[in-house]
């Protein structure tokens, strides 16, 4: 077990054989005793001995208590000290080993008493205060690790070994924080850990020491250091207009976030006294004098100031430019807004965030002198006031800490080290100064008459400025204007968002301040809402320069700020709401321009929807992205996320248009209390899933052999549904049924013939979407029985693909109301027509009846295809029927149900739902026929000749309404159970759009939504009715299949009849 150790092979006899034994330790002790002076010759030996001591001690800790006794008895730690204090050659080499031994010792020791013994004499503290050669990175590493290891051992018992109440000695802490600014990041992290571990210990006298003797110097230095870091960050932002040093900037931002999180972690420990000092320093040494100060208008450069003064002299006016203030460091307003956002996103300590929010919302230039005293006084009883000002502390931390150990009255720190540059002029004159400087700026290069004019106006302008009680809030609001781009606006939005979502700021207070304080005639809250609507309106314009993320936050904030206080209506005026809706309509118009029959549009559309669904707005994550600090750019070459930059090229413009529309649509629905019912385009619920058992009686099945890439062969039957390609295997139990083994969307199918084999097709089913370049869902060779079947399959796949796409494109067309694809004028009418909606309706309640049936007439034109059978499930099927059946059965069921329902509808009890059902029916049949039809229809309506009479009140027998699509479909498929129901259940989907579009468009949007919900309700009823009617017949099978079987039976029954009609 014990290998021979060559480095011990030398002249030292008497070495015990057992490496891990008390004897060996005794032997090592003798070596230490003999080699008290480190020299070239014995260095290796000492290092090796120290290493062995560590090993034996750990072994002893776990096995033999005598080992530790011996170690303590001989006071071996003092030898350690003695060795490290020697300056002789190569001491860092020995020191590294020494520190490592100590680390091993303290890290691996398990026995509590052993630990106490080790700490009991003051050697450990002496080792800590020893000035090692910290320029050696290994010494530094082991040393800081040593402190960290010890800090992890801190608790209310062990604290007394480290902190000496009588001498005010706490080297573990004071030595550690001296490295708070060490260039090596790992060292800084360790320092933060140590300090947090120290604060965590609940020992009042220790905490008092920390507060009285070290807090002010440590925090003032920390804050100054953070401030300097920020100036560096600001320089980086200013000089990096072209996104060149992105890496550097993102590191600076990440580093700053580290600082903020560290401060937040301290504040979260909730040590009252400490937090008071830290809050004071942060506010008055950094946030107010640097961040808030940077929100004031930038003064002219010194040269210009001089010119101004001269000019003022010419004009006989006193311009009192505060040169001192001009030299105060400041950052750009971009950076200031960003940093303030970060504070509110990260820190939640109430006194701090409340005071800072107060300054922003209520403060004027006086804060540069007085700080946020008013607020802080309410939180802290005996404040040690720190005078605002951003500047370097008088003493470096090291100096300050050195004096601490001497006899320095600690409380004087707070006051004594305020060297910060303070604003000396009273607030009012400062404001005047700013105003006049601005005015003077304009005075350059103008004629004398104009000067005179300006002189007059500047007088009044000055008055205006005097009225400005909230210059910072005004700056924030002003930043929301994005006439040129949204560079500032995004950051301003982040700040408002962060403030309104901060846990430390009481929501009511925030609301109150905003709604009470006024600028001119309306409150700030109104001003914010107007600004938000302004951004939203602009974003819906075709070539706007507003990024998606800006739109998203603006919309989110709009929802937040109009949140109903109790259960009342949203706090938004009709005018404002109209603005929102017209923005939505505008965005729809923009989107229409991109609507193309090109394949990519559909993919983009679905892709964007998924993206939007996936990505929840997270402003905190957004603010970790340093790129928002740089001017907005369009090029993806910067690697900036799509939503955080402007679109580049036509495809991205289309994507943007789609996304803006989605966002606006979603928000409008929130305002209307509606639920999305038309998106996503694919109704997942009605899709066939793998392993579903399907009734394939009378379906077209094409037998084939699927040869995968790895040459594995499977015998399958190819079924082509309206949306899906399905590969089935015969069901073992039920004749004519099959189990789906593979499903893919027809829209993503790619078919290629084989040059050499006419019975063979190469079929690829992609995963869909444009941005994800993943492997296809299926890529295989399909072998058919003969040439004819192969051709048939190819034709149907190709047709199926284009039809599936057409269908979805039609859905989109309806969603965005493409003229020509549908009855566009309806919407013109809808926009002005209010729809009856029970109690809350406002007049013209009967008029809805006027235009609604027209839909029906549209469908009733002979030959026009209409969806009928599954009408009643239209609005609900996704949600209602999802639970228990997702396959075939649904369609059959709905087909069956609608038939059952038809007598009902004419009975008048469900009149409204009946209307709606019919409304829902302008159906698919894509082609010139339908569009011409719709145009025809539209004419009378646009001319206002709407009439109830034009539409038959009673539905015609449903069986007469044969959707063209279905017709074809069933001809292709030969009548079978699914062929009828399934396309119908999808093809009707787009038409539901009408319902919602109307409601969104109408002037008073709340009402239609009620109609919509009424409709939904009645549909719900009908569905549940239908369900109740359904008897569950088969009991021997699982209920799932059972119902299917039942429905299948009924469905096929109905379809057979249908089939008969069709063939007539």
């Amino acid at each position: 077990m014990f290998r021979s150790r060559s480095w011990f092979g030398g002249p030292w006899g008497g070495r015990p054989k057992n490496r891990l034994s008390l004897d060996h330790l005794k032997y090592l002790y003798s070596i230490l005793e003999k080699n008290t002076t480190v020299s070239e010759s014995n260095r290796g030996l000492l290092v090796e001995s120290l290493r062995c001591i560590a090993e034996i001690l750990i072994w002893g800790d776990q096995h033999d208590s005598l080992v530790f006794d011996f170690f303590l008895e001989k006071n071996m730690l003092s030898y350690f000290l003695h060795i490290m204090r020697q300056k002789s050659g190569g001491s860092s080499f020995v020191c590294v080993q020494l520190l490592q031994t100590l680390n091993i010792l303290f890290e691996n020791i398990r026995n509590e008493t052993s630990l106490y013994y080790l700490l009991s004499n003051n050697h450990v503290n002496s080792i800590m205060v020893h000035k090692f050669d910290f320029s050696d990175e290994d010494v530094m590493g082991y040393y800081i690790l040593f402190l960290k290891t010890l800090s992890l051992k801190l608790n209310t018992h062990t604290i007394h070994f480290f902190y000496n109440e009588h001498t005010n000695d706490f080297p573990l802490y004071t030595e550690a924080i001296k490295f708070f600014n060490h260039p090596e990041s790992m060292v800084r992290i360790a320092v933060r850990t140590i300090s947090l571990n120290v604060y965590k210990v609940q020992n009042s006298s220790m905490l008092r020491f920390i507060r009285d003797k070290t807090a002010a110097p440590y925090f003032s230095n920390l804050v100054w250091f953070i401030g300097k870091h920020i100036l560096e960050l600001d320089t980086c932002v200013r000089t990096d207009i072209d996104h060149q040093s992105n890496q550097k900037l993102s590191n600076l931002v990440a580093e700053h976030l580290d600082h903020l999180h560290y401060l937040s972690d301290i504040l979260l420990l909730d040590i009252k006294d400490l937090n008071a000092v830290l809050t004071e320093h942060l506010l008055h040494k950094l946030f107010v004098p640097l961040y808030i100060f940077s929100l004031t208008p930038t003064p002219p450069p010194p040269s210009l100031a001089l010119v101004t003064q001269n000019l003022a002299a010419v004009l006989n006016r006193n311009v009192d430019i505060d040169i001192q203030e001009m030299h105060n460091p400041r950052v750009s307003s971009i950076v200031a807004l960003y940093l303030l956002s970060l504070v509110f996103l990260v820190v939640s300590h109430a006194p701090l965030v409340h005071a800072l929010a107060w300054v922003i919302l209520n403060g004027d230039h006086g804060v540069f002198k007085d700080g946020a005293a008013e607020i802080l006084n309410s939180y802290v009883e005996h404040r040690e006031v720190v005078v605002p000002g951003f500047g370097e502390p008088n003493e470096s931390l090291e100096q300050a800490l050195d004096t601490v150990t001497g006899q320095c009255s600690a409380s004087s720190y707070a006051l004594s080290e305020d060297s910060g540059v303070e604003s000396s002029s009273p607030a009012t004159t400062e404001v005047e100064t700013q105003a006049e400087v601005d005015a003077a700026k304009k005075l350059r290069n103008i004629t004398d008459e104009e000067k005179e004019l300006l002189q007059k106006t500047s007088g009044s302008g000055k008055a205006d400025f005097g009225e400005l009680a909230k210059p910072f809030l005004d700056t924030v609001l002003h930043a929301l204007e994005c006439t040129e781009n949204d560079y500032l606006a995004l950051l301003s939005l982040c700040l408002i968002y962060a403030m309104s979502h901060n846990r430390g700021i009481k929501n009511e207070w925030f609301e109150q301040v905003l709604s009470k304080s006024t600028r001119g005639s309306f409150s700030y809250k109104t001003a914010i809402i107007e600004h938000l609507l302004n951004i939203i309106t602009q974003s819906s314009q075709p070539s706007c320069r507003i990024r998606l993320i800006t739109v998203e936050i603006a919309l989110e904030l709009l929802v937040t700020f109009t949140k109903p206080s109790s259960d009342e209506a949203r706090c938004i005026t009709t005018g404002q709401q109209d603005l929102l809706f017209s923005a939505r309509n505008q965005s729809m118009l923009v989107l229409r321009n991109f609507y193309k029959s090109e394949d990519i549009f559909l993919d983009l559309f679905e892709d964007e929807y998924n993206e939007m669904k996936k990505a929840q707005l997270n402003v905190e994550f957004l603010c970790m992205d340093s790129t928002i600090l740089l001017p907005p750019t369009g090029t993806p070459l910067t690697g900036i996320n799509f939503t955080r930059r402007l679109p580049c090229g036509e495809v991205e413009k289309a994507r943007r248009a789609i996304r803006v529309y989605f966002l606006l649509r979603r928000t409008c629905q929130k305002f209307l209390n509606e639920r999305e019912s038309l998106l996503p385009l694919t109704n997942v619920v009605t899709l066939v899933q793998v392993d579903n058992t399907l009734d394939l009686n009378n379906s077209d099945l094409i037998a084939c052999t699927v040869v995968a890439k790895d040459n594995s062969k499977q015998r399958r039957f190819l079924v082509i549904d309206a949306l899906q390609l399905i590969l089935v295997e015969p069901d073992a139990k039920l004749l004519g049924w099959g189990v789906a083994k593979f499903v893919g969307f027809l829209q993503d199918v790619e078919v290629q013939g084989d040059k050499d084999d006419s019975r063979c097709l190469h079929i690829t089913v992609h995963r869909g979407g444009v941005t994800h370049n993943r492997t296809p869902l299926l890529s295989a060779k399909f072998l058919f029985d003969d040439h004819i079947r192969c051709m048939a399959a190819k034709q149907r796949l190709t047709k199926g693909r284009s039809k599936a796409r057409q269908k979805k494109m039609y859905q989109i067309a309806q969603l965005i109301e493409i003229p020509g694809q549908m009855d566009s004028p309806v919407y013109a009418v809808g926009g002005t027509t209010a729809v009856p909606s029970g109690s809350s309706s406002s007049g013209s309640s009967s008029r809805s009846g006027h235009h609604r049936p027209i839909f029906s007439t549209a469908n009733r034109v002979p030959g026009f295809a209409a969806v009928l059978r599954s009408n009643n499930s239209a609005g609900v099927s996704r949600t209602q029927m999802a639970q228990n059946r997702s396959i075939e059965g649904i369609r059959n069921e709905s087909a069956g149900r609608s038939r059952r329902r038809s007598p009902n509808t004419s009975s008048g009890t469900t009149l409204r739902s009946d209307h709606l059902d019919r409304d829902r029916s302008p159906s698919v049949s894509v082609g010139s026929h339908s569009s011409s039809q719709s145009r025809e229809n539209s004419q009378p309506r646009s001319s206002g000749n709407r009439s109830r009479e034009s539409s038959p009140r009673l539905p015609r027998p449903r069986s007469e309404e044969i959707p063209m699509e279905d017709f074809q479909h069933s001809r292709n498929n030969s009548p079978h159970s699914r062929g009828n129901g399934s396309p119908a259940s999808r093809s009707h989907t787009p038409s539901r759009v009408l319902q919602y579009e109307i409601s969104v468009h109408s002037g008073s949007p709340r009402e239609p939504s009620l109609v919509a919900s009424n409709a939904l309700l009645s549909q719900l009823n009908s569905v549940s009715l239908a369900r109740e009617v359904l008897p569950v017949q088969s009991s021997e099978e699982t209920s799932f299949i059972g119902t299917d079987a039942t429905d299948g039976g009924r469905g096929s029954d109905s379809s057979r009849r249908k089939g008969a009609i069709e063939t007539v």
Partner: protein, 213 residues
């Protein structure tokens, strides 16, 4: 003392998976763990040679720093390599890998090389996580995988050195911005005064001096 590059590593994983033992085994081969004596340390450095270049590996174990958010978020950044360690005899340490990886990916720079390590491969009789599972996890998440034993030193060298090789390759490819120290890579002062007889790090000395293996 002189090196061409310094790579900073961090070691992450649940407590008790043997992170600090791995580290000590690598930096200080002189500590040969004996029967039930486990010794670890949370910092270490060692010189290795890749492609004829002296490279110093500086390894920081981050144990005990998980309590504070500010600490966790900062230590991932600033490392060029990470060893993600689990214990093959404890299933739960394997199950927690996803969380560790998420954390690492969220906070680290995107180029950080992560190596997955199944430690304690010497305890095959008590194995709870199959080697194939580790391999599958690594494949799925694009990591390099290796089973090691801090006790027998099996694969320990390879784990650290292979990671270094990958970082080195990335430098050659120009993926890593080596002028940015925040990436965990430092360029050595090639002409700094050196004392070949006295390598500054205990680890390096250990490697040179060790005659134990």
């Amino acid at each position: 003392m002189s090196y061409a590059y310094l790579f900073k590593y961090i070691i992450i994983g649940d407590t008790g998976v043997g992170k600090s033992c791995l580290l000590l085994q690598f930096t200080d081969k002189r500590f040969q763990p004996v029967h039930d004596l486990t010794i670890g340390v949370e910092f270490g450095a060692r010189m290795i040679t890749i492609d004829g270049k002296q490279i110093k590996l500086q390894i920081w174990d981050t144990a005990g720093q998980e309590a504070f958010r500010s600490i966790t978020r900062s230590y991932y950044r600033g490392a060029a390599g990470a060893l993600l360690v689990y214990d093959i005899t404890r299933r739960e340490t394997f199950n927690h890998l996803t969380t560790w990886l998420e954390d690492a990916r969220q906070h680290s720079n995107s180029n950080m090389v992560i190596m997955l390590i199944g430690n304690k491969s010497d305890l095959d009789s008590r194995r709870e996580v199959k080697k194939e599972e580790g391999e599958a996890f690594a494949r799925e998440h694009g990591l390099v995988f290796m089973e090691t034993s801090a006790r027998t030193a099996a694969n320990v060298e390879e784990a650290f050195i292979n990671t270094a090789k990958e970082i080195y390759e990335k430098i050659q490819e120009g993926v890593f911005d080596i002028n940015n120290e925040a990436n965990g890579i430092k360029i050595g002062q090639q002409h700094s005064p050196t004392n070949p007889s006295l390598p500054g790090s205990g680890g390096a000395a250990g490697a040179a001096n060790s005659g134990c293996c």
